[in-house]
Amino acid sequence: MTSMIELIDVHKSFDSLEVLKGVNLTVVKKEVVVVIGPSGSGKSTMLRCINGLEPILKGKVIIEGEDLHGPHTDPNRIRQRIGMVFQSFNLFPHKDALHNVMMAPLKVQKKPKAEAEQIAREQLCQVGLAEKMHAYPDELSGGQQQRVAIARALAMKPDMMLFDEVTSALDPELVAEVLGVMQGLAESGMTMVVVTHEMGFAREVGTRLIFMDGGVIVEEGDPREMIPNPKEPRTQKFLSMVL
């Protein structure tokens, strides 16, 4: 088993507010780690520390054996291998779906235009948006935008994917189409860390469930065992509220 992500005693503060108080986490290849917890528990922050969007105060972030904050590490190069999808989609509004997806292969990986476009078309077909290649973000529904965002991240052929509450901004009837794409991705063997409130997804797709509260990992385990029988009182309280 190769370790894809290793967080070692990661601390993070926003000014005087300590958000992560020593997080340790190892994610191995093909794992689907689902992270749950109350708002303010630090789960999104943890996710953003994995690809270095947030600088950390103390500790280590190791991606596929490379220290993200090492003196000779180029974080931009490491980020190319970590796809990320956001709650608010963050599509580039000045580009159509196709160009959203092909921008990074073209500009970051410096692939020839024809190849980048080919990749983008494949990825958009994969998420079921073959018909929407030339639609601009504001012409797409939330669910469609989020699927473009997933395609955009996958176009870089990342080794792992991070999902930050990607269905929280969607109308209920649009949640399923996005979760469906994520489930397909998990089944194809993608290593994933998913911050979500979708307990059904956690149970059916997650290989490990992590409950965070107050900036630490409180409990982790197999979602099929942990959801019905949480051990920690804080997990019990949280699950009883969301289920």
């Binding site: 931009n76 980020r79 190319q80 970590i82 939330g142 935008q145």
Partner: protein, 254 residues
Amino acid sequence: MNAFFNGEIFKDSLWLLVKTLPTVFEVLVLGLICAWAWGLALSLIRLSRFRALRYLAGAYIDLFRGLPLLLLFIFIYYGLPHAGLKLNALSSGVLGIALCYGAYSAEIFRAGIQAIAKGQTEAARSLGMTHGQAMRYVILPQAVKLVVPPLTNELIAMIKDTSLMSVIAVPELLFRAKEKMGVVANSTPLTVAALIYIVFTIPLIRVAARMESKRRKRRPGGKPPAGITPEAGIADAQLYDADIAAQLPKGGYG
């Protein structure tokens, strides 16, 4: 009435003043290019991660927003020669405009860049883009659209401020009008100059106003794309609209 609108003098000075327009345009175009390029560079420095440079750019912007342009013109044209640096009137004008309006433009560009949602930078960086790539391919193309109306307003102010160059003997509109006034002992040349300024500024004022009202209509008021909850979509747009308004420099430029 005859003192301000004498038919004979009107005809005379109209031609005289129109002849100055190439000079005015030359200063304006060169000044505009220099001011906007300098302003964009300053805004990028102001937002860079190098603290010392950030501080310097901020100090420059404050200083040149705080100085009257008239003083700047006089300093460059009459002051610098004492230090051995002699510029001709036209170059002094361009330099003054570039220095002063560079500072204003920098604030406009900064507001435009900062009004682009933080999520855009994050999405770009998460794809492996460097800071420079994210700016170039994601942030600036969007910011440029936001700053067109305020930059148009700036252009209007700049057109009016070319009249300040009359004190450094740039043969522009006001300079020639004043000359002529002395010769004919009548105010009509000034009326002509006023009309010429207005011919150029009023259409621009209308254009800027139209762009602004179009933007207001399109952004927060428009129909939200299906599937975005109000919190995620609309609130964002309103927030960033308010943001850019709040960050733009207030009041006149001269």
